[in-house]
């Protein structure tokens, strides 16, 4: 890095003025989210009496918040001093945050639609350590953002020389930085996008949608006034004379809407997804409106997990996640998610994370049959009993439904238990589980932080135990192993971890 750039950031610098727009927009969004029932009242104003005091109230809140946001922009500075990135901010209370370069895990540039319009980029700085703070700079011109990132990453200690290459990502944005070796593994085209969209979990979207519309209905009743609401309800009541018909129609309606919605969101989110293999790890760019970019370096990947639901299996797609150690570790954000990839890319990632896994000799282990019993009690007996109690009025229906569910649950859980497969080797473990959505994970022993063997008093009687493997990116869990085996596996892993000098990161 040239000296001029060093000097550039050694003085307290403000963000790009575009940040004001972005901060205000964020404010509008928050306000709207908090106050939208009130706004609806103002718009429809069913009785004409509420508007009187609400309007000045809303305007007051908005004005104060806006003023505060604008001041906050002028009070926000960042600069570099003694190999630390320093951010000073705060309107009433002044905060100074200093991040040593060595603690910076990664810096990612993100551009929303407005960022793209003004040629700015936001900078998210992820730090390692228990403090768990993630910092971000709202808007910086793309050139400055790149300079800052390149400078910080190049000044960072051990792997710095390579880490600069982390940067050529921004080909379109900054052609000045020489591209180093970067191989495109996957670029999603439109059919791929559709496949991924179609195989999303629509039931989950339907659930969210359902909960959301319930809360909206609740608010709506207060907003439009009970009379109109009642009238609406009566009219609907005529159409939906039968409750069952109503719920079937509602369910179909929600499924269709949520199918369309999750398809749309998935396409928007994964539009032009590009997945690269770089010198030091992997990189992903995706998104139409919100173009995001994520870089992950190989040593930081703690374990990988991939899964396929029945639709994805039909399309031969996998959802792949690379879990990295970071300050926000145990949350989902620490992971890089490739929403859809094929066998070739999966193999590539596996090969990079765990070079000789496929050649390693492994032994196959299963989990105890007692797992069937436990799951049968929780997922079979309990719901069946509840169903019977609900249908006390017509016991026959209750018994038939309950018995049917019990039989189904039994066979399901027998298969579930059989499907738990654990391949152990000297250097790592691969586990398969799940019937409908099939999950797999791969862990190299050197990423292990600590282990736990857990036994409830019931498990103690059955002589089985759960084995928990803690990594810096989350916990992996093997249930219902025979105690002796769980302890033997644990002892072996510890032997591996303790007798090697390999670092976990």
């Amino acid at each position: 890095m040239s000296l001029t750039e060093t000097r550039l950031f050694s003085l307290p610098t403000r963000q790009s003025p575009v940040a004001i727009i972005l901060i205000l927009l964020r404010l509008v969004r928050t306000l709207f989210r908090q106050l939208w029932p009130l706004l609806l009242v103002l718009l429809f104003n069913p009785r004409g009496e509420v508007g009187g005091y609400i309007t000045p109230f809303i305007i007051g809140i908005a004005a104060i918040s806006a003023l505060r946001s604008i001041i906050s922009y002028f009070r926000y500075y960042f600069y570099i001093q003694d190999r630390e990135l320093i951010i000073e901010r705060g309107v009433l209370q002044h905060t100074r945050t200093a991040i040593p370069f060595d603690r910076i895990q990664s810096i990612s540039l993100n551009q929303g639609p407005i960022h793209q319009l003004f040629g700015v980029s936001s900078l998210d700085i992820d730090t390692a350590g228990s403090s768990g703070s993630e910092l971000s700079i709202t808007a910086l011109s793309v050139q400055e953002a790149n300079q800052l990132r390149t400078y910080v990453l190049s000044q960072r200690a051990p792997i710095s020389s390579q880490e600069v290459s982390d940067d050529e990502s921004e080909e379109e944005v900054s052609p000045s930085i020489a591209p180093t070796s970067k191989k495109l593994l996957l670029e999603l085209n439109i059919p791929d996008l559709l496949k991924i969209g179609v195989s999303q979990n629509h039931l989950r979207t339907a659930g969210i949608l359902f909960a959301f519309s319930l809360s909206v209905l609740d608010d709506l009743e207060q907003v439009v006034g009970p009379e109109i609401y009642k009238m609406m309800e009566e009219r609907f009541g005529e159409i939906f004379t039968s409750f069952i018909w109503a719920s079937v129609i509602l369910a179909v309606f929600f499924l269709i809407i949520s199918f369309a919605l999750s398809l749309l969101f998935s396409v928007l989110r994964n539009y032009q997804l590009r997945f690269y293999r770089t010198d030091i790890g992997f990189q992903m760019q995706a998104g139409l409106l919100d173009r995001r970019e994520q870089t992950i370096s190989l040593p930081k990947i703690q374990f990988i997990r991939w899964s396929a639901n029945p639709f994805q299996r039909f399309f031969k797609l996998y959802r792949l996640r690379l879990y990295q150690a970071s300050s926000i570790a145990v949350s989902a954000q620490g992971a890089m998610t490739v929403p859809g990839c094929y066998d070739a890319q999966l193999k590539n990632v596996q090969e990079a994370y765990f070079p000789d896994w496929s050649e390693t000799e492994k032994t196959l282990h299963g989990v105890s049959r007692y797992l069937v019993r436990r799951r049968f009690i929780i997922h079979g007996l309990l719901p069946a009993g509840l169903f019977f109690l609900i249908n006390l009025g017509s016991p026959l229906q209750g018994i038939i439904g309950g018995v049917f569910w019990l039989i189904f649950s039994y066979f399901w859980n027998v298969r579930y238990q059989r499907y738990w497969k654990i391949w152990l080797s000297e250097i790592g473990v691969e586990a398969h589980y799940g019937l409908l959505t099939r999950h797999r994970y791969l862990l190299h022993w050197r990423h292990l932080q600590s282990t736990k063997v857990r036994q409830s008093f019931i498990q103690k009687r059955l002589d089985v135990a759960d084995l928990l493997l803690y990594t810096a990116a989350g916990t992996l869990h093997i249930p219902y192993l025979p105690v002796e085996k769980a302890k033997a596996i644990r002892d072996f892993i510890l032997y591996r971890v303790e007798s090697s000098q390999e670092s976990w990161m």
Binding site: S130, A325, A329, V330, T360, E361, K362, T363, L424, S425, E426, L448, Q449, S450, T451, K452, V453, R454, Q455, S456, F457, K460, Y470, T471, A472, G474, T475, K485, K487, A488, I489, R490, D491, F492, L494, Y495, V497, E498, S499, S500, Q501, W504, M505
Partner: protein, 188 residues
């Protein structure tokens, strides 16, 4: 130091495994470990905690009655008191059992801790994964002259270890020992 170390020969000289499949029977095991039990005062501390806990609940119940202007039905108390009594007995039972359930053990390269009455766990943290060690003392622990040792790894909260019921001096010895162990690992 008065701590007994169980040094495992196997770990001192790393053996190259020539057998590629995992031979589970030939590994160093934890079955023959010598567990160190905690300070006898920890037993009293647990009972004191249980006593305080049930006292707080009782006070809360009395306070609730007063807040309602003593207008609580006698029936409420007739039901609430036995429930409180059963819960308290359960709490004391757990507290008494906890002492026997908890123990720790130091080895050359890791530290073990087991605990739990209803759900028993056995945690092992290798020294080369320890991030930092600290000692914590609450007011009750101070009264009983005890301390808790906290061992942190990068594995997040659920993987961290807290060994409570240690005499203060022992806790400090352990802290220094682990700090030294992990420090030397960093230099390696």
């Amino acid at each position: 130091m008065s701590i007994k170390f169980l040094i495992m020969e196997e770990l001192n000289e790393p053996i190259l495994f020539s057998n590629p499949s995992v031979d589970l029977s030939s590994l160093p095991t934890t079955n023959t470990l010598e567990w160190q039990s905690l300070a006898p005062k920890y037993y009293q501390l647990n009972l004191a905690r249980a006593g305080l806990g049930s006292l707080v609940i009782l006070l809360f119940m009395v306070g609730f009655t007063f807040a309602n202007g003593m207008q609580v039905y006698a029936l409420t108390w007739i039901i609430a008191l036995p429930v409180w009594a059963i819960l308290s007995i359960f709490q004391f039972w757990i507290a008494a059992r906890r002492f026997a359930a908890e123990a720790y053990s130091l080895r050359d390269r890791d530290i073990l801790h087991r605990k739990g009455v209803l759900i028993q766990t056995e945690t092992i943290i290798p020294f080369n994964r320890v991030q930092h060690v600290s000692i914590k003392r609450g007011p009750l622990e101070k009264y009983f002259g005890l301390a808790s040792l906290n061992i942190f790894t990068a594995g997040g909260q659920s993987s961290d270890l807290e060994i409570s019921g240690l005499p203060v001096q022992r806790a400090n010895e352990l802290k220094d020992f682990i700090a030294e162990k992990t420090g030397s690992d960093v230099i390696d």
